[in-house]
């Protein structure tokens, strides 16, 4: 199918080139994983870009979930029919990075195409995730988010919780009060189990997930998230799970509407949940920074990002690369970025767009959208909070979640579960290290 489309596209391009060489349009295939309102935004961006000039035509194609899109791209590359641009979620970064030859680094692309490009214009908390240790940007950040704590203000008031909890002990107290006030099945909960309790938790408390700056400085990284602080946190969750003061809600975000339905009044998930919360929650809600342990030194540090970036695939014509570069310049435009941020709830990627949104007074009316930015820029990032880059991360998250589930079900102690997650994860990292030479 993809082959036929490409064939057809090529035929059309050739036909056009023969007939009217002056108006030859170069098609740029863009595979993405955006659904609902965000899908409309993607289509609108492509339309606007296509209308803004006549040399290139960006063709967006929805390819399914994040893992589906990534796998479709990998399969297409093996079959020689890869798209020009592919949206890959943040945990796929290490896999894409290691595929030298399969990808065209963005800094290289912009240089070759002679497009004006200064990586310093972009927010370092975001681009750091997608750059080499030398600061070369490998992929183009598209939709970024961070993890925040969503609060049902009405229910908190009813349960007699006067202030939005800031620390984990305060969250536990509030959850107990909520439970006593009728939230029998859920005091608090979260989506993205490992992102919340391992990845963000570690960065926010300035403790390493793994050595070598969480893998950013090399694939010979070793996992280290079985520290006493991690064990203590998981043990707290195990204890609270017993009477559902905490109730586990799965590995991904299918259970997010436990917040909107009013079942869970405290719920940690992505800041990108904003658009959905706005349209489905029928109560007064807000977002707050993730909780921390006050006795942990240096907490809270800064959070790390989630979301996805755009990778450019290798082996394409230089004319096509020029079009991709022009499209990225188009995306970086300050007004466009600011609008994108305000409509979708995803973070702005340029400093200028962020400053413009602040200046326009947007956050005074929508403080919810500023929470993730405040978290990301809370402190100067350390080696523990710059980001993370582990090979096979997609599957490794499942593996970590398995161990957390075992612990919450009472089959393992917190220490046993985290030790096993680290040991099994390390075995996986060594396999990846061998293939990613």
């Amino acid at each position: 199918m993809a082959l036929r489309q490409l064939g057809a596209a090529a035929a059309v391009t050739v036909a056009l080139a023969l007939a009217t060489p002056a108006y030859a349009v170069t098609e740029i295939q863009w595979w993405h994983a955006m659904t609902g309102g965000n899908n409309d935004i993607v289509n609108k961006l492509a339309e606007d870009f296509n209308a803004s000039q006549s040399d290139y035509k960006v063709v967006p194609t929805f390819k399914g979930s994040y893992p589906d899109t990534m796998n479709a791209g990998i399969a297409a590359f093996r079959a020689g029919t890869a798209p020009h641009i592919i949206q890959v979620f943040e945990v796929g970064t290490a896999t894409m990075m290691s595929a030298t030859g399969a990808i065209k680094p963005v800094y290289q692309l912009m240089k070759d195409a002679g497009e004006p490009f200064d990586p310093k214009n972009y927010l370092p908390a975001i681009t750091g995730y997608y750059s080499t240790s030398k600061g070369d940007m490998l992929s183009f950040p598209f939709n970024s988010s961070s993890m925040v704590m969503w609060i049902n203000k009405d229910e908190l008031k009813k349960a007699g919780v006067a202030e939005i909890p800031k620390t984990w002990p305060e969250v536990f107290d509030a959850a107990k009060k909520l439970k006593a006030a009728g939230h029998a099945t859920c005091g608090f909960s979260n989506a993205w189990a490992t992102w919340a309790h391992i990845e963000q938790f570690s960065a926010w408390h300035n403790v390493p997930i793994g050595s070598k700056a969480n893998g950013l400085d090399g694939f010979d990284t070793v996992l280290e998230f079985n520290s006493p602080l991690h064990v203590k946190h998981l043990q707290n969750l195990i204890d609270l799970q017993k009477d559902k003061t905490y109730d586990y809600a799965g590995r991904a975000n299918a259970s997010e509407n436990r917040f909107a339905s009013g079942e869970c009044a405290i719920f940690l998930t992505s800041s990108g949940y904003y658009a959905t919360a706005k349209s489905t929650a029928k109560f007064d809600f807000t977002s707050a920074p993730m909780p921390y342990y006050p006795d942990a030194k240096g907490a809270p540090q800064n959070s790390i990002i989630g979301g996805a970036s755009l990778w450019v695939m290798g082996g394409k014509k230089s004319e096509e690369y020029k079009g991709v570069a022009k499209f990225f310049t188009f995306l970086s435009d300050t007004d466009r970025q600011a609008k994108l941020h305000q409509e979708s709830g995803y973070l702005p990627i340029t400093k200028a767009a962020y400053e413009k949104t602040v200046k326009d007074g947007f956050y005074d009316k929508n403080p919810t959208l500023q929470t993730p930015l405040k978290e990301l820029t809370n402190k100067e990032p350390t080696a523990n909070s710059r980001g993370l880059r582990f090979g096979n991360m997609v599957q490794m998250r499942d593996l970590w979640a398995e161990e957390i589930e075992g612990a919450l079900a009472g089959k393992k102690t917190a220490q046993e579960a985290l030790d096993a997650a680290v040991a099994r994860g390390n075995a996986m990292l060594r396999t990846f290290e061998k293939t990613a030479k």
């Binding site: 595929a99 096979n392 599957q395 499942d398 589930e405 079900a409």
Partner: protein, 293 residues
């Protein structure tokens, strides 16, 4: 005088076999040999680096405690699904074989689930039994039953078994019904005249005469649970919680597709292939003896 047609062309029988042989080769032997070849290699997801590593993938596989756990899970899952889907389908087929009023509609409805894709079937069951969203899970919670397939491995197993059984009943039903209809009425009537009740007639006449169908279905169902159920598992539990529903075929899928470990995944599928071939051989050698054609 009897007219007999003789084809003298020696090539013809082979030519007639060719289409079937091509299909078998292209869709079975060729991919199977590719899997075996891949299982001796280590390769990154993009296929940029390939290295021959001999039996290393198998060694890595056999030291994983999770792999043995997956074997055990597969045993539990496949026996439950095969036993339940066969017996329930047989029960339905015997009922549908009677003179019913809306037999046509009833049979059509019974066959419908077979047209549902495994992943879609999985999503349907999730809608019913998701602990906080499911339409049928809520009544369970009201009855103070702590239904939680997100954390309780047994609940998750029950859920995937139900979904897999539901999907397979149609197929089994169809074959059982056809089998029942081919049993001569005269035999049953003779039994009835001799004073055998319905239960006795079923166990002494119907069930033995149905044995070729049952045997065929047993083989097909074992293949079904071993290979075709990963879509359901992926949609319903993702192999969790804590690996409680990770069967061998799901692990092949997870390691190869989600993990990009093609060599390790290929090694697993070779092991799986050997197990299924062995199982089928055992079925033909020992179970088939009891079949009365």
């Amino acid at each position: 005088m009897e007219k007999s047609v003789v084809f003298n062309n020696k090539l013809l029988p082979y030519l007639l076999l060719v289409p079937q042989l091509i299909i078998t080769f292209v869709f079975f032997y060729w991919p199977a040999s590719q899997a075996v070849w891949q299982s001796f290699q280590r390769e990154d997801a993009f296929g940029l680096n390939t290295e021959f590593v001999g039996l290393e993938n198998y060694q890595a596989l056999l030291v994983q405690p999770e792999y043995y756990k997956a074997m055990l899970t597969t045993l539990v899952f496949s026996s439950l699904v095969a036993a339940l889907s066969l017996s329930i389908a047989l029960l339905f087929a015997t009922q549908a074989d009677k003179n019913l009023k809306a037999a046509g509609a009833y049979k059509t409805l019974m066959i419908w689930p077979y047209a549902v894709a495994p992943a879609v079937a999985g999503v349907l069951w999730i809608f019913m039994f998701h602990p906080s969203l499911g339409t049928l899970a809520r009544p369970l919670r009201w009855m103070n039953f702590d239904w939680n397939p997100l954390l309780n491995g047994n609940h998750a197993m029950i859920l995937v078994v139900m979904a897999a059984v539901w999907k397979q009943i149609s197929y089994n039903f169809l074959f059982f019904l056809a089998g029942l209809q081919s049993i001569p009425k005269s035999v049953l009537e003779a039994g009835a005249i001799d004073g055998a009740g319905p239960m006795r007639r079923f166990w002494t006449i119907v069930f033995p005469l149905l044995s070729p169908t049952t045997f065929f279905l047993l083989v097909v169902n074992v293949v079904y649970v071993f290979f075709d159920t990963f879509g359901i598992i992926d949609a319903v539990t993702g192999g969790g919680p804590a690996g409680a529903t990770t069967t061998m075929v799901y692990k092949v899928f997870a390691d190869g597709r989600l993990g990009g470990d093609l060599g390790g995944s290929a090694a697993q599928s070779v092991v799986l292939m050997v197990i299924v071939i062995a199982l089928t051989a055992v079925q033909f050698k020992y179970v088939e003896r009891k079949v009365q054609y």
